[in-house]
């Protein structure tokens, strides 16, 4: 167990091997260094809640896509060929072209309505399109057939149950991620975190040890929506726990809950002007298994599609943060602050299977002590590309996402205990790549490699770190 000492005005941790490691207590200076940038827990969990890499339609341009086109050209020559229609429908479903599959199957019913299997397939396809009453209409037809077998009735019931779940106003979605991480410069920063300006838990990433180390982590995101008709109540619970293999003083745990209504302005669906969600939030953070931070706040998020390929979103958030002094950070209460953050992002589907993202955010942290106050500006660019793997591999798709950050921060004042005449200013580059391989419909393997390079006008604030993360993601 490392013991905290002070040296040259900075907190340091003397590890059990006697090596010194830096602990930035209460961000008294060097606001630009890693960890002085807010990690918004909700954003930190974005990678948890991102869509699964598996079970997605095959993108266009693949071998299957070409096969479907070839089948369709054959259909144009021989549209009543039953086998051809089935093969085309199967290919269309794999491509996510449910309308194409429906067209082919309904064509068969045009000639012969006594295809209960076809009607069941149609019911499933309409269910996938969320056209539940149409699905029910086909299920009624199947059930009313005098020769419907017990197996057929069982499948009808299974689809009805699926529709009931889908149409229930109350829905849950769960993502879990677990794995291990190696850092060349250990911190308590959440594994796989995403950084925006503002938010919490700041000090989960402010603890930096100039030593390499491993940790095991578990993160989860439970999302609940309740449909009110013209609006939905969206609630999220985000949890994170990290157990360091060597440095238990920076074991970290966090939970955040947020809840608020989402509603469209100016119509609904494609015709809406903007989708708004005001929300309230509360968070709790433990560091080294001790109470460290709680906060409450509120925010407003807005999103809208610009074109079919481009969508935009923005947010404003306020948090009132209250720290507790702990053994590792005895002056943590200096960081008690009101934090205002604002940001926006653009998402551009630049290719059929490639998406470009740009995120900008700015935070103003008004801490109780001026030297702990800071402003931060974050720019983040990402690109996600989905590769469809050959069918014989039995897994996929593989989604590869390079990411690049540029982060600036400016402290509110010099820390008299560290560098009385220097107001810290830092700039950080952060870049890396994430890979996610779908293993089953609900399970994906994930890997991250992230490199951070921090520059500062205070030499002691300069640092570098490389994180390697390997994990599994379960979603349902």
């Amino acid at each position: 167990m490392p013991a905290l000492t002070t040296q040259n005005g900075r907190y340091r941790i003397a590890s059990d091997r006697g090596a010194c490691a830096r602990l930035l207590a209460g961000r008294p200076h060097g606001a630009g260094r890693r960890g002085l940038f807010a990690i918004r827990l909700a954003a930190a969990m974005l990678w948890l809640s991102s869509s699964a890499a598996v079970g997605q339609p095959t993108p266009a341009g693949t071998e299957l896509d070409e096969q479907a086109i070839a089948l369709f050209k054959e259909l144009l020559k021989d549209p009543t060929n039953v086998d051809l229609n089935f093969r085309y429908a199967e290919a269309a479903v794999k491509l996510g072209n449910y309308e194409g599959a429906i067209s082919a199957l309904e064509r068969l019913l045009l000639y012969n309505p006594n295809f209960p299997g076809v009607k069941l397939e149609l019911a499933e396809l309409y269910t996938r399109l969320a056209s539940y009453n149409t699905a029910r209409a086909y299920l009624d037809q199947v059930e009313s057939a005098p020769d419907a077998t017990p197996q057929t009735r069982a499948r009808v019931q299974a689809i009805r149950d699926q529709i009931e779940r889908a149409t229930s106003p109350s829905k849950f979605a769960v993502n879990l991620v677990t794995g291990i991480r190696h850092q060349s410069d250990v911190s308590a920063e959440p594994a796989g975190s995403d950084i925006v300006a503002g938010g919490i838990p700041l000090t989960l990433s402010s603890v930096i040890l100039h030593k390499p180390g491993w940790d095991a982590f578990l993160g989860g995101n439970v999302a609940h929506t309740y449909d009110l008709g013209d609006a939905t109540i969206e609630s999220n619970a985000l949890v994170y726990y990290s157990k360091q293999f060597r440095f238990s003083s920076i074991d970290s745990a966090a939970i955040e809950v947020n809840s608020g209504p989402r509603f469209d302005i100016g119509g609904s669906g494609a015709s809406k002007i903007v989708s708004l969600r005001p929300y309230a939030l509360a968070s709790e953070v433990l560091l080294g298994n001790s109470q460290f931070l709680w906060d409450v706040g509120a925010g407003l998020s807005a999103s809208r599609p610009i074109t079919e390929q481009i969508s935009a979103a923005g947010f404003y958030e306020f948090r009132s943060e209250r720290f507790a002094n702990v053994g590792a950070v005895p002056t943590a209460t200096d960081m008690d602050a009101d934090v205002h953050s604002i940001g926006g992002n653009l998402s551009y589907q630049i290719l059929e299977n490639g998406n470009l993202g740009l995120q900008v955010s700015y935070a103003i942290n008004n801490a109780r002590r001026s030297f702990a106050s800071y402003d931060a500006f974050v720019v983040r660019a990402t690109y996600a590309h989905s590769f469809q793997l050959p069918a014989e591999f039995g897994v996929g798709p593989l989604i590869v996402s390079p990411v690049l950050y540029r982060i600036y921060s400016w402290n509110g004042a010099a820390n008299p205990a560290v560098a009385p005449t220097v107001i810290p200013i830092t700039q950080e580059w952060r870049f890396g790549v994430t890979g996610e391989l779908g293993l089953t419909n609900n399970l994906a393997a994930t890997a991250h490699v992230i490199r951070e390079v921090i520059g500062s006008n205070l030499p002691s604030d300069r640092s570098t770190d490389t994180q390697v993360i390997i994990g599994l993601r379960l979603s349902y």
């Binding site: 021989d78 309308e99 194409g100 000639y111 056209s131 009453n133 029910r136 494609a270």
Partner: protein, 200 residues
């Protein structure tokens, strides 16, 4: 031709009478890259599905009268145009590439239906007192897709909610979208399937 194909495939067959205004009568099933002013007039037991090159399709129920005003499709750009007139009867449109990029328009005696993506059912009834092309009732069901609008008497009603219907009667302004029951959908779908028993 259809009878022969149906027999070969071992499936039922429609009794289709399709005519082109300026051409000899002929059966239609596939629309390649272009089509203009093709009329499909199904008999009491006739049914047909038009399969378009953009992967959309038009299923026409018995006792229907439909004219494909224009179908143009460029496979390279996956763009084109589709407009049709439904004088009377029931049809189902399942959208393809064209409707993903632009609205597809259907004209009925008293209204214009536009749909972006997705699947709709159009039921048109002619007002016998007004004759062909005048008044009547148009009921359109939105089963899936991005958006569907019905315009009549200079006013439009749109819906994005599945299993809703917009109705216009006598050329009057369309009514607001209303939910439709499973039974209604089931009954209309049955009209678009072969009569029980298969081959005619």
């Amino acid at each position: 031709m259809l009878a022969a194909l149906g027999a070969t495939a071992g499936i039922g067959v429609a009794n289709v009478v399709a005519t082109a205004a300026d051409r000899p009568s002929r059966e239609l099933l596939v629309a390649h890259d272009s089509m203009r002013n093709e009329r499909i007039d199904t008999s009491e037991r006739g049914q047909v599905q038009l399969l378009f090159a953009d992967q959309s399709s038009l299923s026409v129920a018995p006792d229907s009268d439909v004219v494909i005003n224009e179908f143009l499709y460029d496979p390279q750009t996956q763009t084109g145009n589709l407009t049709a007139t439904v004088t009377t009867g029931l049809l189902r449109y399942v959208g393809g590439e064209i409707s993903k990029n632009k609205d597809v328009a259907f004209y009925t005696p008293g209204a214009v239906v536009s749909v972006h993506g997705g699947i709709i059912l159009i039921k048109a009834e002619r007002d016998a007192r007004l004759g062909r092309g005048g008044g009547g009732k148009t009921e359109v069901l939105f089963l899936s897709g991005d958006r569907m609008c019905v315009t009549a008497n200079g006013q439009s009603q749109c819906t994005t909610k599945f299993a809703t219907a917009i109705t216009s009667e006598g050329g009057e302004s369309p009514a607001a979208p209303v939910p439709v029951t499973v039974e209604t959908i089931r009954a209309l779908l049955s009209h678009l399937q072969a009569a029980d028993g298969g081959t005619d």
